[in-house]
Subunit: 333 residues, 2 copies
């Protein structure tokens, strides 16, 4: 089986490739090749198949998608995107990469199939599984609590709009039989390894990650703010599940809200206390930030991801587990 | 005020232009010019402003949108599209016209605004009202009864996908302040004047229109099939309302399901009996058509269009009124 990963140098992309290299199979089939595409060099983890090839390219540039699809990968993990803040600040760039770039991949697949019919075949044998990294940013307020799978996508950012439009295309290309698509709406990933970043959601990881390392962390919102979380390990699991499920029960809903842990900031802090004591909790410094508080108010705190759960997608059950994953995967405990 | 209408030679487009020519004003402002774009010649109704110009052009062809927007129309009624069956049979053509063509209009507006900032203005004074003819095809089963405004758009046709994607763009361009968009999801228009067409919904009009003219009409489904209707006159009213409402209460939901009459085929027939007697009803010939029956099963029969109703959109209350509109507007009664 041949696998293509876009965004393979990103945090989740790297972890997904590590998992594939470790598993050596996907859905019971041996992984023969891994093609790893990103705008920077993708690391090749130990255990990768011999035919593993990092490509430095912007998948949204003209002709790149067709080149990537020419090898007819059996499974495509499409994780590459520019982030929400970038897409909001750079309107054209966001649509070019997050929407038109994704569409170019879908079109490259359809064109690749067309070659077979031009060669006289009635139908093409090429119909890859296409796993698309979507986002809960496709949904916007007002939110019922919990948010059902059937809620309209009324995004409040260009990023969410681009993801929602790509979800629609993914469903239509799947319905037409051009590819076999599964969209994965990721919860906020927590605990993100590394340094704080400029995302408004950065503090959700920071108030655990920094104290676990003995460092101070700012908390810009109140303890009762509720949000929806899953670990990086769970996110990788979502992608593996999306690549291997039987898609026939999905119907027109090809993109699914993923399971997660609904927790308040206060519950995060309680879990930190259990894991690392009062000394760690004391490192959280309350520094109100009305700008961040307002952004966070636009996010839902609880979802009812019935479809994904029924399809076998699973996340952690509570924040104790989320912290444990971080300690195991990032702190070597 | 300058007005641009795309699809101005279509059934609803013609009626909309007739209404504008009759009213001579829109939202209290005198209509100075009407630019009427369609792939065939648009009729110019009596009473049109002196500066009325029919243009034969495909708005989705390169450069056409920019030319149309160059005049900076204050209100754009974007009705042009290829129909569902055509978009389903011709995948590329459907996306090119129904989606990329609409996007080209949005982009032409954004680029027109850009000219002002290149000329040194802080902000552009150009921000047209953009009224988009969407469709209930953006929604797909399973349907709650009634279908709420908040239901996810899971279209089951390429046409519905293209309309749903355009709705998302319309909302994002509105949110960014590039235009002031209102999307109008039309019910099935009944009674359509003219001849039966190949649309699966054609019979809903045919079983009234043909008997009212003393002719036989086939009925391919059972009497208990429920559907959602508005007259052509109501549809024109939706577009006028969409052009003149205060959009500030809309929030991120820029596209709205329109009010309509929820009625079964049996209720249509009862209304025909009241209007034209048993002799007319006897002209309906039951000819089962499982193909059409199956398509119709994929449509919802009842909506709860709270947002549109609260914004002042209104349709007929029952089928007696729908028949009366046809008799007045098409039969000169």
């Amino acid at each position: 089986m041949k696998i293509l990963v876009t965004g393979s140098a990103g945090m989740i992309g790297r972890k997904l490739v590590e998992r594939l290299a470790l598993d050596k199979t996907l859905g019971g089939k041996v992984i023969q090749s891994l093609t790893l595409v990103d705008v920077v060099e993708s690391p090749i983890p130990t255990g990768s198949p011999k035919d593993t090839r990092p490509i430095i390219a912007d998948f949204s540039e003209k002709g790149v998608a067709a080149t990537l699809i020419l090898e007819r990968p059996d499974v495509i993990f499409h994780l590459a995107a520019i982030v929400s803040g970038d897409a909001e600040a750079n309107f054209e760039k966001g649509y070019k990469i997050n929407f038109n770039g994704s569409w170019a991949l879908f079109e490259a697949i359809r064109q690749e199939r067309e070659k077979d019919s031009q060669n006289g075949s009635q139908t093409s044998s090429y119909k890859p599984r296409f796993v698309f990294a979507s986002s809960l940013a496709v949904i916007g307020p007002p939110f019922p609590d919990p948010v059902p799978d059937s809620l309209a996508t009324t995004p409040t950012t260009s990023y969410g709009t681009q993801k929602a439009m790509t979800e629609l295309l993914l469903a239509d290309y799947s319905r037409k039989g051009y590819l076999d698509g599964v969209g994965v709406r990721l919860p906020t990933i927590c605990i993100r390894p590394g340094k704080p970043n400029k995302a408004a959601s950065s503090f959700f990881s920071g108030i655990l990650r920094e104290p676990l390392a003995g460092q101070e962390a700012p908390l810009p919102v109140s303890d009762d703010v509720r949000h929806w979380f899953a670990s990086p390990r769970a996110a990788v699991g979502f992608f593996i599940t999306a690549a291997t499920i039987d898609t026939s029960p999905l119907g027109p809903r090809r993109s699914m809200t993923m399971p997660g842990v609904s927790a308040t900031v206060g519950e995060e802090i309680d879990a930190l206390r259990k894991a690392a004591g009062d000394k760690a909790v004391a490192l959280i410094k309350r520094v109100e930030d009305p700008f961040i508080a307002k952004i966070v108010q636009g996010w839902a705190g609880r979802y009812d991801p019935q479809l994904a759960s029924s399809m076998g997608f699973a996340a952690e059950k509570n924040f104790d587990q989320i912290i444990k994953v971080y300690q195991e995967d990032e702190m070597g405990q």
